[in-house]
């Protein structure tokens, strides 16, 4: 019969060998290219399917933006092709058409008519007060943020998540510091994104009132756009014209505010090349040219 001491020593030997084996294998496992332990928890658990969930949570944020009034896969969702929370930032190509107020259509039968009293049945936006239509409650738009954060964690390559999050943090929550952090995190994950640079420029210009940093960031955005745009397919090129128009018009506005009118005209002319409404921009150019002419001409004094 073995003594307890033998068992104890065997146990210690087993623990030592386990520890030694783990210490030996761990560096090899870390160096192994197929290791999934390096990524975050979502990456390990979900793999590439996390992008699918990320999109789901992004849409969930838009559902919250509408306080639950949102079409299902059975409803007419033509008016919800682009999420409204993104379209309202002004930096996204809006592809929505159709009736956003009445996607449910006329009542189909008594069960449908009766059932509409038991779920949200009116189109509202959180930034416009939500179901109460109380504009003082526009900061309730904060409720979309958890889903956007989750979406960004699941799919760090989705640029729109960062720009939308930053826009609402800055615009309605007056939380420029957090918006700044979100955009910089976005830039770390998507260094070539001119959308993020545009939003960062807006943050510098509108929240920090720092035109020099805004100019630098927007000009970098334009350079990135000029580099990437020719490589895109025609459909993507169509979608990406809006952001260039926004970058150029914002730069024009910045130069005009700085009193640099010839440069402002140049930026408006650059915006005109990609704009869907060139005549409106031409009006701006004419206005600036007139202003420029006034500055250059000597001030005419009335004779009488």
């Amino acid at each position: 019969m073995n003594s307890p001491r033998t068992f104890f020593l065997l146990l210690v030997a087993l623990l030592v060998s386990c520890f030694g084996l783990a210490a030996h294998l761990e560096p090899q496992f870390q160096a192994w290219p197929g290791s999934r332990a390096k990524g975050d928890i979502f990456n390990v658990v979900l793999g590439d399917s996390r992008r699918l969930f990320a999109n789901q949570f992004y849409v969930k944020a838009d559902e919250y933006y509408h306080s639950g009034y949102y079409p299902t896969m059975f409803d007419d969702n033509a008016a919800f092709q682009t999420t409204h929370m993104a379209a309202d930032t002004g930096a996204v190509n809006d592809k929505n058409h159709g009736d956003e107020h009445g996607f449910l259509g006329p009542t189909r039968n008594w069960i449908d008519a009766f059932g509409r009293h038991f779920f949200p049945d009116r189109h509202t936006h959180l930034d416009a007060g939500g179901p109460d239509d109380d504009l003082s409650g526009s900061d309730n738009v904060r409720e979309i943020l958890p889903w956007l954060k989750l979406s960004a964690d699941l799919d760090p390559d989705n640029v729109q998540t960062y720009t939308v999050t930053a826009y609402w943090l800055r615009e309605r929550m007056n939380n420029a510091a957090e918006a700044d952090a979100v955009l910089h995190e976005g830039l770390r994950n998507c260094p070539d994104s001119y959308d993020i640079l545009f939003e960062l420029g807006r943050l510098y210009y509108e929240s920090y009132h720092d035109p020099n940093r805004a100019r630098n960031v927007w000009e970098l955005g334009v350079r990135k756009w000029q580099k990437i745009y020719p490589t895109l397919d025609p459909e993507a090129q169509k979608d990406n014209r809006l952001i260039m128009e926004q970058l150029a018009t914002h730069l024009a506005k910045l130069e005009e505010d700085a009193g640099n009118l010839p440069r402002a005209v140049e930026w408006f002319q650059a915006a005109q090349k990609v704009s869907l409404t060139p005549t409106l921009i031409q009006d701006q150019i004419n206005r600036l040219k007139f202003k420029l002419g006034q500055e250059l001409n000597p001030v005419l004094k009335p004779l009488y």
């Binding site: 919250y64 306080s67 639950g68 299902t72 059975f74 189909r108 039968n109 069960i111 449908d112 009766f114 059932g115 009293h117 038991f118 779920f119 949200p120 939500g130 179901p131 109460d132 904060r142 409720e143 943020l145 958890p146 889903w147 954060k149 943090l169 929550m173 939380n175 957090e178 979100v182």
Partner: protein, 258 residues
């Protein structure tokens, strides 16, 4: 009525002796507290995601409690050989069924009370408001929906062989109604005859449990449901509940108990 209340009392006692409710309640609390501790852009006022998670857990827990508790009532009596002695007392078969139903339904109501108190406290801790009437409407509709489910399960426990098969089939049916019940008529329109008529008939025949799911109204702070429609929904629930209970009584009347 005394016989019915006596049976119901035993069912309620059974529920608070079992661990199902405590486990689900504690799990709900833990998950909600962990989710509440997440820092989202340093904003402590964000609450709706928390309300949604909490209500989802409340709904799941209540469905599990209602179905599993009810599904084992009659089969357990039969297995333990207590059904015959029970019916030998001055107790009719219908009284037994109604007593079991009442016990399970009241037990579900008590668990809902605990869950909704926790939910109210959780949302009040962030929102600093207590919309009692909205919570009352949501909890009452939820409870009446559970009444339909309890009656359905009781009928199922007399039709299907084992509690496990009964529970599984009911989870599938109830999940189906909650997810696509509202849209079944739209689905029917895309189908060919005679499947279209069959699906359309199913749409009108099934109890529309999704009517009682007013979570979105609570999460997003929508105004109260008009009291007329609220009362009509309760009547609708009572109607289906009576249909399933009558069915259960009729089936049990013809069933051999030994």
């Amino acid at each position: 009525m005394n016989n019915i209340f006596a049976v119901a009392g035993v069912v309620i006692k059974e529920l608070y002796r079992r661990k199902d409710f405590y486990v689900l309640f504690i799990v709900t609390i833990l998950i909600c507290l962990v989710m509440a501790s997440v820092n989202i852009f340093n904003d402590a006022k964000i609450v709706r995601y928390l309300k949604e998670i909490c209500l989802l857990l409340v709904w799941l827990s209540s469905l599990v409690i209602a179905i599993t508790t009810t599904a084992r009532q009659i089969p357990a009596e039969r297995e333990n050989r207590t059904l015959l002695p029970l019916l030998a007392k001055p107790l009719t078969r219908s009284q037994l069924i109604i007593g079991k139903f009442l016990g399970c339904w009241v037990a579900c109501g008590l668990t809902l009370l605990c869950f909704y108190l926790f939910f109210g406290a959780l949302s009040a801790s962030r929102e600093h408001q207590w919309p009692l009437l909205n919570y009352f409407q949501a909890a009452t509709l939820h409870w009446f929906m559970l009444g339909i489910i309890v009656a359905m399960t009781l009928l199922g426990s007399l039709v299907f062989a084992a509690p496990s098969s009964n529970s599984t089939i009911l989870f599938v049916i109830i999940g189906g109604i909650l997810f696509v019940g509202r849209h079944l008529d739209q689905v029917a329109l895309t189908l060919r005859e005679p499947v279209r008529t069959i699906v359309y008939s199913i749409y009108f025949a099934i109890p529309h449990l999704e009517l009682f799911d007013v979570r979105d109204l609570i999460i997003h702070n929508w105004p109260l449901i008009p009291w007329l429609y609220f009362s009509l929904a309760l009547l609708y629930a009572v109607g289906y509940l009576a249909v399933f209970l009558t069915g259960a009584c009729l089936v049990f009347r013809r069933k051999t108990v030994n």
